[in-house]
């Protein structure tokens, strides 16, 4: 939607009342992706939304967003990720960002949850296909979605929420029981 058309439509909706569109309104409609060279604090909504789609809030435990997955990713990518993987991830995130802007005129974070899930499911399929194509190759490069998913899983299950709510955490067990009964709905130990 072009800016002029958008303003015309507003006029139509509001019956000719003069309305100065706010920045936020403009952004939601003419979302412009940014080309990242690194992850920064401004990417947190994007990363949180991706993380939350990969590990969502469920009845038993909050999801990756509440576990501050975006913050975790920024630190881990900066400090703990080999440069070639950083590049793959950034390229992938830029591509995804552009795709959302082009196709949905929106950032990933502002999409409806079902749409976000659809996109992430597609990425998972792409990553599986990518993996199959790489089979047998000497030097294999990961799909960026696998890097992103790996970060989400690692970050979530080492977070306080992931350890204590999604799983069971006992910092000082005090004893070892070699055999206890287990039912399918019982959670696994966090550590």
């Amino acid at each position: 939607m072009r800016r002029k058309e958008f303003l015309n439509r507003l006029t139509w909706i509001w019956g000719g009342a003069v309305l100065v569109p706010t920045a936020a309104m403009l952004q939601s409609c003419v979302y412009k992706p940014v080309k990242r060279v690194e992850l920064t604090q401004t990417d947190i909504p994007f990363l949180d939304a991706l993380g939350e789609t990969i590990i969502p809030t469920t009845a038993d435990a909050p999801g990756a967003k509440e576990a501050k997955i975006g913050e975790f990713m920024i630190v881990m990518v900066r400090d703990c990720m080999p440069p070639d993987h950083q590049d793959i991830l950034l390229d992938g995130l830029n591509t995804l960002d552009e795709h959302c802007a082009k196709t949905y005129k929106s950032s990933f974070a502002n999409l409806e949850v079902p749409k976000q899930l659809e996109i992430v499911q597609q990425l998972q399929s792409d990553a599986i296909a990518h993996g199959l194509k790489q089979k047998g190759k000497n030097t294999r490069t990961p799909h960026y979605f696998n890097i992103l998913k790996g970060l989400t899983v690692r970050g979530y299950f080492t977070s306080k929420i992931g350890c204590t709510q999604a799983r069971r955490y006992n910092p000082v067990p005090g004893k070892y029981e070699a055999c206890i009964p287990y039912k399918k709905e019982d959670k696994i130990w966090a550590t």
Binding site: I54, I55, G63, D79, C80, G155, S159
Partner: protein, 574 residues
């Protein structure tokens, strides 16, 4: 008396010498140095420990011990920077964000390598006893007789009967949990109650017993306290031992031997003290003391004692001995044989296999047992004879259950979260722990022109696994896969590694014990040939490597040597 000593002696006034004189000096405070200090102090000797690293006080200096996973900036992951700066140390399984302060960084003490050798070090009071894996099977005559029977290297000067009482002695103090299994290749000891096997492990034990008559799976004897012992522990089943244990749940110098030594009032610990050389006195034909460089001030001082225990860990003890030259010992202290620095061994842990089990879905465990199960050696033992290799291997084994990682690989959203919070199948994994033979050309040597920050020559390591080790590892993989298949496990897989020699952190052999001064550096009491008041009781004294984890044997040899020296002092024969 050598020239340096004479000059120094003139410059020191009598009071200065007295201040620097002890009954005994122990070089190093790790697992064997701690024992030497405890034994000597308890027998009434004023003892000085010289430790090259910083002080680490039990509990107070374990900064990460009570931290949760989310308390670490990088959730206990090493940063790229740390990995790049420490290619050697970061290959060690125990080097983590939570433990890195107990490891020597690669840049802090460089060495050169003719072939890749990963030298893992912990320079602090307590040394690597803070970090060790705590497995403590005894050796048997299968090990002590092997060299002589096979004509390899030289004979051990001792047999099991010589060390057995000392195994008992150190086990009683250290606190070793274990079961009396009645296996000749890992003799029973003085055990605290054993930790229990889980259902997967019990199943494997039974399966192996039903398919073979020589494959015995037992709970590993381990220096973790299953019950409170001498005021320490018990183990709280956190399995965070390598961060240092605030409950004193496992044996370390810091938790056990050093406090015992301190209690006598006879102990002095001097950290930041690199021993450069042992001073040889030609008049008495003994060591008169040691020369020390202070790592903070770079000042050199001397300390004197009637006896010296060298416990700097295998390679550093050897470096010190090689650097201690005199007219009497031009090629290194006690090196009449030319064997000092040679015969470097490690173990080979590259053989790894695993399999999944369909069953016991309704069973799980609670608590994190800090040990595993041990499949005792069966190769070239009893009726088993192998044509392709000598000696044998044991397996470190464990049964465990993790999340549903495999199906989770293709999922996102709620189904992914469910897979990762629910239990997957039981897995049983096995790591072959292979003995390495002593080869004269696996060696360490000193640079002639380069020195490190403390004026010590730069050390070069030239060692490799050879044919016997490779053939053994091949068999350990093949045999491991076969056992898992016979036991009915699924998805049986070879997960072998390709670790450099050194990375199993069982370096030993470079100042070996023997019966003849022409072929060994130490006698049967760990006494240096030609300097009877110097004892070397860390891993460098080992004449062969066995396939058991070696620390318990170092402890026993140390206590035995300390007892010997005190008896000799009483007779005034040292």
């Amino acid at each position: 008396m050598n020239d340096t000593f004479k000059t120094k002696n003139i410059n020191l006034n009598t009071k200065g010498i007295a201040d620097h004189t002890y009954d005994a000096i122990v070089i190093g405070s790790g697992i064997s140095g701690g024992w030497a200090a405890k034994e000597l102090c308890e027998k009434g000797l004023k003892t000085l420990i010289l430790e090259r690293g910083r002080m680490v006080e039990h509990i107070k200096d374990y900064p990460t011990a009570m931290m949760n996973p989310w308390d670490f900036e990088h959730r206990n992951t090493l940063t790229q920077k740390i990995k790049e700066e420490n290619p050697i140390a970061s290959r060690c399984y125990a080097f983590e964000e939570a433990t890195q302060h107990f490891f020597v960084k690669d840049k802090e003490h460089p060495y050169t390598q003719t072939k890749p050798f990963d030298w893992i070090r912990g320079y602090q009071v307590g040394g690597k006893s803070l970090l060790w894996a705590r497995w403590t099977q005894r050796w048997s005559d299968l090990d002590f007789e092997a060299n002589a029977k096979e004509g390899i290297a030289i004979d051990w000067p001792i047999r099991y009967k010589d060390i057995a009482p000392w195994y008992s002695y150190v086990e009683k103090f250290a606190g070793i949990s274990g079961n009396r299994d009645g296996l000749a290749q890992i003799p029973d000891g003085e055990f605290l109650p054993p930790m229990e096997m889980n259902c997967m492990e019990k199943y494997m034990k039974q399966a192996l017993d039903s398919h073979y008559d020589n494959r015995h799976l037992v709970i590993s004897r381990t220096a973790n306290l299953s019950v409170k012992h001498l005021g320490r522990g018990p183990c709280q089943y956190r399995s965070l031992c390598k961060r240092g244990c605030p409950f004193g749940g496992y044996f370390s110098s810091n938790s056990a031997t050093l406090p015992a030594a301190e209690k006598t009032g006879n102990l002095t610990i001097r950290p930041f003290s690199v021993v450069q050389s042992i001073i040889y006195d030609e008049n008495t034909q003994k060591a008169s003391g040691v020369r020390v460089v202070d790592t903070n001030t770079k000042e050199t001082t001397e300390f004197y004692a009637k006896i010296v225990f060298v416990n700097g860990s295998t390679i550093n003890s050897t470096l010190l001995l090689l650097n201690s030259t005199s007219k009497r010992f031009p090629d290194g202290f006690g090196n009449d044989s030319g064997e000092l620095g040679h015969n470097l061994m490690d173990h080979n842990y590259n053989a790894r296999v695993a399999g999944d089990y369909e069953g016991f879905e309704d069973q799980y465990y609670s608590g994190r047992r800090p040990t595993g199960t041990y499949l005792a050696r069966f190769r070239n033992f009893g009726k088993d004879k192998q044509a392709k290799f000598k000696r044998g291997y044991a397996y470190a084994c464990g049964g465990s259950r993790g999340a549903l990682w495999l199906p989770a690989q293709t999922k996102v959203g709620k189904p992914l979260k469910e897979d990762l919070t629910q239990l997957g199948p039981w897995t049983f994994s096995m790591t072959g722990m292979g003995e390495c033979l002593p080869y004269h050309d696996n060696k360490v040597s000193l640079s002639k022109n380069q020195t490190d920050d403390w004026g010590m020559p730069i050390l070069n390591i030239d060692a490799e696994y050879k044919e016997n080790e490779s053939a053994m590892i091949k068999d350990a993989v093949h045999t491991g896969l076969e056992m898992l298949e016979k036991a009915g496990l699924k998805n049986v897989r070879d997960t072998s590694e390709n670790r450099n020699i050194g990375l199993n952190i069982h370096e030993m052999g470079t100042a070996r014990m023997g019966r003849d001064p022409k072929t060994s550096v130490l006698n049967g009491n760990n006494q240096v040939w030609g300097a009877q008041n110097v004892f070397v009781t860390d891993g460098s004294c080992m004449t062969s490597s066995g396939c058991q984890n070696p620390s318990l044997t170092y402890m026993a040899l140390t206590a035995r040597a300390a007892n010997f020296v005190v008896e000799e002092l009483k007779k005034s024969s040292i």
